[in-house]
């Protein structure tokens, strides 16, 4: 069977599964819609959290980024896993005991203030929309490459599927589809990784193959370590050593901290821990979540290293006409561009960019006139004056890995289904957070406290539907700055929610004045720093102009420190919170008496 047909089959079967689950797990009450009735088993919640957390970016882009930047990518590996330690010890169990539906719920109640609640709602909506636009786009790209439909048609199909199970099932529907999506995506990620690992190092586990020795085509051990070889190959070509970094230590430190605390402060992650039955379950569920995430996150750096070696060996010093088929396919989709600087018809991979930015071509992929002497698409960018000739987009590393490694057709189809699962699961989780912020925190808690539960549920469904349409719009017309604003989501979560929630639990004395002042200072500082360097003066965005040498990606950590300092000082100068608030804090610190759960 050909790849195309298999891909339709795999993706179609996975969609049928998601829809089936959605019909089975319809939500009947607001509690089911917002937190799945609080009756999700901790292992199921762990898998759902992992799927929620690992987006199209984790699945598609991360291994590619690691392959290109080596050690520097460690900030993502540590930053996006270390946050779960903070969640398990500092936030999740207490928020579960508190037992409400949303993050603004906690902020509003603990700080007895509708101002605090409103600031929280605005942050939630901003952070979540930033994220969700990228997911919709990711779905579109996977569709475009594997099913040969238009990117926009792909986005619409994705929207329709998410619409079905998010609007119908709410959190309950999302949770169980996410469990299924996790299984699809992890299987799709691990299968090619294991194949590659066996092929290159003879190890079944990519994690040990990563530190193993290479084997040759006959399966004989060459005695050369993979990483040793990689360092050797890339430095020979004029790249930086793979296992050494290029960022300053202080910047790596702050970026990692911003990603860790940002992870722990992201509303769509926190809210997942409202869905387990007990406080005890919330703790261990964070462990399950990290276990499921670690399966992918410890495999990705191995995949990155395998792919880099493979890529250099296949492409470098090979004549254009003798390349394998995947090279031409991805060139046609616009993710590969080659300029034959020395006119020898052979591809040279060297350190440095072949030309500035992403390739733009003389004509469309179908046009014969826009092709050069060897049949390559002519690139219209001005070439740089180094010897580097080829641009290969990072995003294709994972998607093209099965083809690069000559793996069977069904593996390629599986990867397509995995990519779609990763994008859809994250989109659904974010959309739910947006809809509950609107229907619960704004409508029910702020503007119309007297609406009935039925009306609130209706409002939640409508808000989810509207959010999907807006997200789809951004997916079809992506704002040019999507890549830049990702720094926002983590920076803002780290500098706003993380300190406020932490102080709300660990300091009985913290009052609304301190919390609001801290949140605003952290937000305004982080927001203006990122806006300044990313939008107002992007030409100044380099280490010598940064405050203390911290890049906009890492500035959320400084914002967080400011938030803590301001909150504590303001709190000392203003009256303590009322008696009943102090009782709430005492109460969330002990597990006994957590609200009852609805059995599924």
């Amino acid at each position: 069977m050909d790849v195309q047909l298999l891909t339709y089959l795999f993706v179609g079967a996975s969609f049928a599964l998601y829809i089936g689950i959605a019909v089975w797990s319809r939500a009947g009450s607001t509690k089911e819609f917002y937190v799945a009735g609080g009756g999700v088993h901790p292992i199921a919640n762990g898998a759902a959290t992992a799927a929620d957390w690992m987006s199209a970016a984790s699945f598609i882009s991360m291994a590619g980024i690691i392959a290109y930047v080596g050690y520097d990518a460690s900030v993502y590996l540590m930053g996006w896993t270390g946050g779960y330690v903070l969640l398990a010890m500092l936030l999740a169990p207490y928020l579960r005991k508190f037992g409400k539906f949303t993050v603004p719920d906690f902020v509003g109640d603990r700080y007895y203030s509708s101002v605090a609640r409103t600031v929280a709602v605005v942050c939630v909506i901003f952070i979540s929309f930033t994220y969700v636009a990228g997911q919709m786009r990711g779905t579109g790209i996977v569709f475009a490459r594997f099913l040969e439909v238009d990117v926009n048609v792909g986005v619409v199909i994705g929207m329709a599927i998410v619409f079905f199970y998010a609007v119908l099932g709410g959190m309950k529907g999302i949770t169980y589809t996410q469990v299924a999506q996790y299984c699809v995506l992890i299987f799709a990620f691990l299968v090619p990784a294991v194949f590659l690992s066996i092929m290159m190092t003879g190890h079944v586990l990519p994690q040990t193959g990563f530190g193993g020795t290479l084997v040759d085509a006959q399966g004989n051990d060459t005695g050369v370590y993979l990483l040793q070889k990689l360092d050797q190959v890339v430095t020979d070509l004029g790249f930086r050593e793979y296992t050494e970094g290029s960022k300053s230590t202080i910047d790596v430190f702050f970026i990692t901290a911003a990603l860790m605390c940002g992870t722990a402060g992201l509303p769509h992650v926190i809210v997942r821990f409202f869905t387990v039955p007990t406080v005890k379950d919330a703790r261990i569920s964070a462990g399950w979540a990290l276990f499921f995430i670690a399966l992918l996150y410890t495999t990705a750096p191995a995949v990155g290293a395998f792919a880099r070696v493979n890529l250099v060996e296949t492409v470098n010093e090979t004549a254009y006409e003798e390349l394998p088929g995947w090279f031409y396919n991805w060139e046609n989709t616009g993710l590969i561009g080659w300029v034959d600087k020395n006119g020898d018809g052979i591809i040279q991979m060297r350190g440095g960019d072949p030309f500035a930015g992403k390739p733009s071509y003389e004509g469309s992929a179908d046009s014969q006139a826009a092709r050069g002497e060897y049949g390559q698409r002519l690139v219209s960018n001005t070439p740089t004056d180094n010897e580097s000739e080829v641009y290969i987009d990072r995003d294709i590393i994972v998607l093209a890995n099965p083809e690069i490694g000559n793996l069977p057709a069904w593996v390629i189809a599986l990867v397509a289904a995995g990519g779609v699962a990763a994008a859809l699961s994250t989109a659904a989780g974010l959309l739910l957070v947006i809809s509950s912020a609107i229907s619960h925190d704004l409508l029910k808690k702020t503007f119309k406290p007297d609406i009935s539960e039925k009306q609130e549920l209706m409002a939640a469904r409508m808000a989810a539907a509207v959010a999907i349409v807006i997200a789809g719009y951004f997916g079809i017309n992506p704002p040019g700055f999507v890549a830049q604003v990702v720094a926002f989501a983590f920076g803002l979560a780290a500098s706003s929610f993380f300190p406020v929630i932490l102080l709300g639990i660990f300091s009985k004395r913290m009052n609304k004045e301190g919390a609001i002042a801290g949140m605003l200072v952290g937000l305004v500082f982080t927001f203006s720093y990122i806006v300044y360097f990313k939008f107002i003066s992007p030409e100044l965005n380099s280490a010598e102009n940064w405050l203390l040498g911290v890049s906009p990606e890492g500035i959320g950590s400084l914002g967080m420190v400011l938030n803590f300092v301001v909150a504590v000082i303001v709190c000392k100068m203003t009256p303590p919170p009322p008696e009943h608030i102090q009782h709430i804090v005492e109460d969330i610190r002990v597990p006994r008496g957590a609200g009852t759960a609805v059995d599924h």
């Binding site: 460690s74 540590m78 010890m89 530190g211 261990i284």
Partner: protein, 85 residues
């Protein structure tokens, strides 16, 4: 009596958290970032040790930390009689 018990439970919890967070800091920020160049002089199977901590080791430690914390807290809950029934 009840209040004193809750206080003792809370300070025992804080002590546990502090201990675990020290390890959390050392394996990631310490071994993976601040000391990475020193540790890279040590070979660990096919890895430079610092690089291994940054791309593999820290994650395994994180997982172990959460599991151990969850277990110790379950014991602590029972010990102070604040566990869920």
């Amino acid at each position: 009596m009840k209040e004193a018990n809750a206080k003792a439970y809370w300070s025992a919890n804080i002590k546990l958290i502090m201990g675990y967070l020290v390890v959390w800091f050392v394996v990631s920020y310490g071994c993976g970032i601040l000391l990475v160049d020193v540790l890279n002089n040590i070979q660990f199977f096919g890895f430079k040790l610092g690089f291994w901590f940054a791309q593999q080791g820290a994650i395994y430690f994180f997982l172990a930390l959460i599991i151990l914390y969850a277990r110790s807290m379950n014991k602590l809950d029972e010990c102070f009689d604040v566990h869920e029934q």
